[in-house]
Point group: D3
Chain length 133, copies 6
Amino acid sequence: MTYSVTVRDHIMIAHSFTGEAFGPAQRLHGATYVVDATFRAPTLDDDGMVVDIGRASDALRGILSSLSYRNLDDEPEFHGINTTTERLCSTIAERLVTAARGDSLGPGGAAISAIVVTLHESHIAWASYEVTL
Amino acid sequence: MTYSVTVRDHIMIAHSFTGEAFGPAQRLHGATYVVDATFRAPTLDDDGMVVDIGRASDALRGILSSLSYRNLDDEPEFHGINTTTERLCSTIAERLVTAARGDSLGPGGAAISAIVVTLHESHIAWASYEVTL
Amino acid sequence: MTYSVTVRDHIMIAHSFTGEAFGPAQRLHGATYVVDATFRAPTLDDDGMVVDIGRASDALRGILSSLSYRNLDDEPEFHGINTTTERLCSTIAERLVTAARGDSLGPGGAAISAIVVTLHESHIAWASYEVTL
Amino acid sequence: MTYSVTVRDHIMIAHSFTGEAFGPAQRLHGATYVVDATFRAPTLDDDGMVVDIGRASDALRGILSSLSYRNLDDEPEFHGINTTTERLCSTIAERLVTAARGDSLGPGGAAISAIVVTLHESHIAWASYEVTL
Amino acid sequence: MTYSVTVRDHIMIAHSFTGEAFGPAQRLHGATYVVDATFRAPTLDDDGMVVDIGRASDALRGILSSLSYRNLDDEPEFHGINTTTERLCSTIAERLVTAARGDSLGPGGAAISAIVVTLHESHIAWASYEVTL
Amino acid sequence: MTYSVTVRDHIMIAHSFTGEAFGPAQRLHGATYVVDATFRAPTLDDDGMVVDIGRASDALRGILSSLSYRNLDDEPEFHGINTTTERLCSTIAERLVTAARGDSLGPGGAAISAIVVTLHESHIAWASYEVTL
């Protein structure tokens, strides 16, 4: 038995890609990523929740605010790295793992067994990253 | 190899939550839950189906009709329990398990290996519960 | 030529209806309403906007926060009135009209020619109200 | 009586805005715009269509390909102009008007009475522009 | 001021088109049409509704059941006519007009000022037909 | 840790089903299937991708073009088989497996650990098939 809770938010960023495989996306362009963060747990806490949705939304928003309205090509942490949809999924998911291990998600965070982050880059393409805690 | 079929329906309920973590949701309020019920099986039946979609929809509707247009705070089965989105997912999923083990889903029900129920509480939050049979 | 901008938010409320036409919805139940507020104008302001999306979102959220997480049956303003989806659309739209005529939406508010509010009560039903300024 | 046909596509662009009203969006960032182009006509052609969907899709894609995977701040046509969602709607719509008046949409183009372009910038905000021919 | 209510349902049909403009769609193929029926009125009835959603859904379903799970090429009413998405919109809308003028929609039907039917043929194309009563 | 990328496309087909369980769907009818193809991998390639989205989209489109705008009852490969949504999922997924094992998906194809194909037959029903490579 596995429970999960998902919250949705979004970011709007600029970036470019290095590598012939990217075709016209090698030019500086951008994307809206609609971001779904899923938290899984085998049990519910005393309140009947996987994790408090308000805290989960706040944690996600905090992480996204350090990325949004930016040109990712200028961010030191992404230097020399293609900020593909897949990679941004893992970046955001790993930060949520840190949040879950800390206090940001509240006591429910301790029971989280997996986190999945999905980024929708358009109505016809999306990517995700799943990590087990 | 895993096949699955999902059917969608919805309920409209009132309820309130107990616990400071719920903030304003401690007041009597309500929700539309768009409900997705997924049935998984490793093989298809002789007709080429996981489960008959008509029967699956009817089974789901029957379960939902006992919940919809109600104040869940007044329902004996939820006495002393927070009817969070997560918990309603498990309530509905466990009843579908009973349906699968009985005759409601037809002969295809015998091969079902897992049931997942997802409740969408808004365009930015949803929860799910997965149970293996 | 008409420009428009739409922002989306949501409320979760309890209520009941009076009248045989409502069937089981005469019982206390509830709904999530996903709320779309559209602002129309024949021209754009100096910044190239119909109305600032941030201000529009804040104005909408302010109006919705006075309705959300409540039992509308207990709200004096709705005494003796069925809070149907249609009627909640007009309630919210008229408050946005007041916001547009005041300062809440910024200078762009003066050019707004129409406001439309749509409330989605489920994946299969929604209502709207359009008012010309 | 009015008929309409809508086709959907998307672009991914970088840009920045000038003006304090834009807050963090003054920084170079980007967006995926999911683009809906609607063609209205009072009658159908001999084939029973407002406009051939294949031709309409091709016309839209041709227009979008001159915008997509670009930093709009570097495009001469947008020099000194904020490329807000509203303004990109009108840019695309006016080019579709030219297409409708030329041959790109086929014979059905002659009967088109209005064109509406909607750009979805996220799951919670979109804009549109409607022009009568 | 205009109120509206929309209900959603769907049909699954086979058909083929006559005319070179249709390319591969000249072959027998099929479509799921997700059908949105919108009812507009300048005022609400005594219950606070444009039209009873239950009655509206039933009226729509009745009309759709005479079309669904059929090969429209074999239906006498469509003999010699291309059953394009646009044309099916008008077929369904005109039947809803008849329903509104009769008793099917209840007393609210008398105030309906316009009906709009939208058929979604895929995630990237849809059509609609609007008729004023 | 698992990464995934999903691309979306669609097909429009006619077919009929054999078996009393199918009720009115035993008649010749049709469907639009919105098709989501998901590719999973435990690692990213040197460009930071699971698989090139352009190549994945092209591979999916190639497979779908051999099915779309057809009456599946007339296709030899489906002779004597009910082309249920579940079965079409597996047909498409197995062809993507072949593509992944060949060159069609590029070098990223070698790392793909699973493929999932989901077909949405309406707004209230969908099916999927997952295969591990």
